[in-house]
Symmetry: C2
Subunit: 480 residues, 2 copies
């Protein structure tokens, strides 16, 4: 069959008016149906099991082994979505999802994703879509103001905090060991972060060729905060041994307990030794929007970079990780490689996003954040975050009042770490019982070597009642 000699039109196009009209009309029908589906989902999600109940491989086996030869109808696809996919979805948008960091795929953001997908515009370069670069600049400047960060900081969106932090590590290397760009990593580069910091810091250091042995895990104090004295001592020791300290990553809101490292003291040390200071505020940074909690970013104005994820506590669906730096010049020096076929624009206001990171293509992610910030406004976001923090405080009080339980960490934000005063197995059994109820999803962590329950508040639809019910279920799950 010499098909190339007989080109068939593959799909409806404007040339084939009827076929294209059908393509668009079909979309209209399915699009409206999907809007209705989402509206029903918003109204019913609280009744769905939070955790998917499928067994490993169950969905895989339910899906055909091969893709269809001929196109299928939207009706078939949406029906399968409901019937096969949904039971395998863990409902992160459920008001009783209390695991990891609770988050929200909010309504205005969905519109942003719809439009971004339809336009499919790509801001690798200023001129390839000025809207991508400029809306991103403006929206991230809005968020910078909300968080009380210094004017002039440069913001860019990457997919996840892991990616943002990896970029921070590369920028740090560019500042301290600029020869690495041409010659590869010199020996002896050392990075510092606390033993409570997120695994992505270590992973980033591995990826960029620093190596695990050169990641120093600085000890923490009783409240899980990095000890500046220990940091200073480690740096001195490494320098004495001929190493090259180049980066320190402070956490504002560690993953287990949301502890806040003492950034001002860490900044002193970083400045003294010429290290790049990166602040990982992926979850907690949002809390700075609440005036009485702005203190968590004290000292962050002295950082070289900071990451905060809009897709954690800022009502924006994954993925949207915001990376700020006061040294975009260094970030650009680390990553810019402009090939002939992507000539720069030349105008200082027309910066090319591809010059500031690994990914060349740049999705129009700013659109959903713009919609979120406009739809809710600062006041509502502030009030929402304040409620979450208040409820965590209230839960902590209830835990403190029950002698069978103990809290294991302070509660500066919306995450509570506590344990039943029994064995690790007792505590794991509580988690299992709570999650088996299908009504809640909580996770556990390990603190001071012990299994610790962890309840994270962060969804838009969550109420105090949801938190309280979880606590009552936890109390009832104690084996007596």
């Amino acid at each position: 069959m010499d098909s190339a000699a007989n080109p068939k039109k593959a799909v409806p196009t404007p040339e084939q008016d009827t076929a294209w009209k059908n393509y668009v009309e079909d979309f209209r029908g399915a699009g409206h149906e999907t809007v209705e589906w989402i509206a029903r989902y918003f109204n019913n999600v609280a009744d769905l099991p939070v955790l998917a109940k499928v067994k490993p491989g169950e969905l895989l086996d339910a899906l055909p082994a091969s893709a269809p030869e001929l196109g299928e109808s939207y009706a078939a696809m949406l029906s399968d979505f409901d019937r096969i996919i949904m039971p395998a979805v863990t409902q992160w948008n459920h008001p009783r999802f209390f695991a990891y960091f609770a988050c929200t795929g909010s309504a205005p953001a969905i519109l942003g994703e719809m439009l971004a997908a339809a336009l499919n515009t790509n801001g690798l370069h200023w001129k390839t879509s000025p809207a991508v670069a400029e809306l991103e600049t403006r929206t991230l400047d809005w968020l910078r103001q909300w968080m009380g960060l210094p004017a002039g900081w440069f913001g860019i969106i990457y997919d996840t905090a892991s990616t943002s932090s990896m970029h921070a590590i590369v920028a740090a290397r560019e500042m301290v060991a600029p020869e690495a760009r041409r010659e590869g990593n010199p020996p002896g580069l050392v990075l510092y972060t606390s033993e409570q910091s997120h695994s992505s810091i270590e992973k980033g250091a591995i990826a960029v060729g620093i190596g695990q042995n050169n990641v120093r895990k600085v000890p923490v104090d009783a409240d899980f905060r990095m000890r500046p004295d220990a940091l200073a001592a480690m740096i001195e020791q490494d320098k004495a041994a001929g190493k090259r300290p180049f980066c320190v990553v402070a956490a504002v809101g560690t993953t287990s307990t949301t502890s806040v490292d003492p950034v001002p003291q860490i900044a002193d040390i970083a400045e003294k030794h010429g290290l790049w200071l990166h602040v990982d505020a992926a979850y907690a940074g949002a809390a700075a929007i609440v005036p009485e909690h702005r203190y968590i970013l004290n000292g962050a104005e002295r950082a070289h970079s900071l990451v905060v994820n809009a897709h954690k506590w800022l009502l924006t669906p994954i993925d949207l990780s915001v990376f700020y730096t006061r040294r975009p010049d260094i970030l650009r020096r680390a990553f810019s490689l402009v090939p002939e076929y992507l000539q720069p624009q030349g105008d200082p206001r027309a910066h090319d996003l591809m010059d500031y990171g690994v990914p060349l293509g740049h999705r129009f992610r700013a659109l959903k954040l713009w919609f979120v910030m406009r739809y809710f406004g600062r006041e509502k976001v502030e009030a929402l975050l304040r409620s979450h923090i208040e409820w965590a405080r209230r839960l902590a009080d209830l835990i403190d009042a029950d002698p069978r339980f103990e809290r294991v960490a302070p509660v500066p934000l919306s995450v509570v770490c506590f344990r039943y005063k029994g064995t690790d197995e007792d505590n794991k059994a509580i988690v299992d019982k709570v999650n088996a109820s299908e009504k809640f999803f909580i996770a556990y962590t390990v603190l001071h070597g012990k299994v610790t329950l962890r309840l994270a508040i962060g969804n838009l639809a969550t109420t105090w009642e949801d938190v309280h019910e979880a606590w009552k279920l936890i109390q009832g799950a104690v084996s007596t």
Copy 2:
């Protein structure tokens, strides 16, 4: 003001029935309106200017300097989107977008993005959303079959091809120099790629600490394909000098001319010297779906990894880059770092996507690809790609028939490189004139040191008439 003591409910919740109902009803209204907007866009996009006409800073200045204090209406947001944002959008979904690699944000994918945003589910871990891991596995296996790649290859989705290729480089290092994970990069690692390969390879090598000086740009033949003899000689020379060759990146479809490197011969050399072979088929890999063009992936079955972007020629909006590897064990060894709070599931069918790369969070991207593959089916995708390739061939014939022009590279796929037989300035002037018409967007590249026009076909709505009109405009733009 002690707001914490007087928590206000920030936003509507199910507890506050009316407010939540309003939240959902508002979304319904705006959602339906957005579906209608997109339907109109599909019908009218061909009439919009392809390139945004704004000046640098124009959109930035049109947006308020600060985010609103109080929430705004969807009506205001959508009106501003139309009025302020749209003029700054370059229309990548336009049938006459012929720059870079033309691509499509297709209708079924929009539904996938809507649902993914609403669920906001995150497949970092199998249990955090089995649907994410398993639909990704199944869908990428479907695509593997369409492309005729070997059974058993492991697939994972990253954001862009740049990120995929960076992961390939890290996996290559893990295979050849596994000590790097703990100790950091050893000296002397060398990577090979052709002088026509995409800048992301060099950027990836910089990011992971290999260094630009250790990226060998292998010369190409007259048709812009990597010369295996030159590759072999460079490797021998480096080994003789005590270097450690570890990775070769072959391009199937280079960025400028879509030339196809001789993968079988490169695989021979990679095997002889124990190098990881990565195939960058970001754009061209899709063409393997067309039986008579499957040859472009000959030899790729011997590669360790391969990247193909669904968001290039496979009807899926950005971002969705597919990374295949036959050595997921090495990829996992390079990246897995399982912290206590993210315990593994233990079941061999329940793999955790976070173990296979830098990003921890994992968006439900597979959903849009699943919808695209089902909606179009293999037959329509095949026919569409065949048409694009045929039209490129037809355009090449027209160019060859006009003595004022010359083709500069073969046309194996849907991109045509050619030039007016004049100065670089003459050719740039043609590009400027064509783009200033607002009806087309073409780009140029530099080949054999000369400015070369480049027309890329790849959008769903494009017809032969669109390509032909572009050619007539180019002919007319010759300064006489």
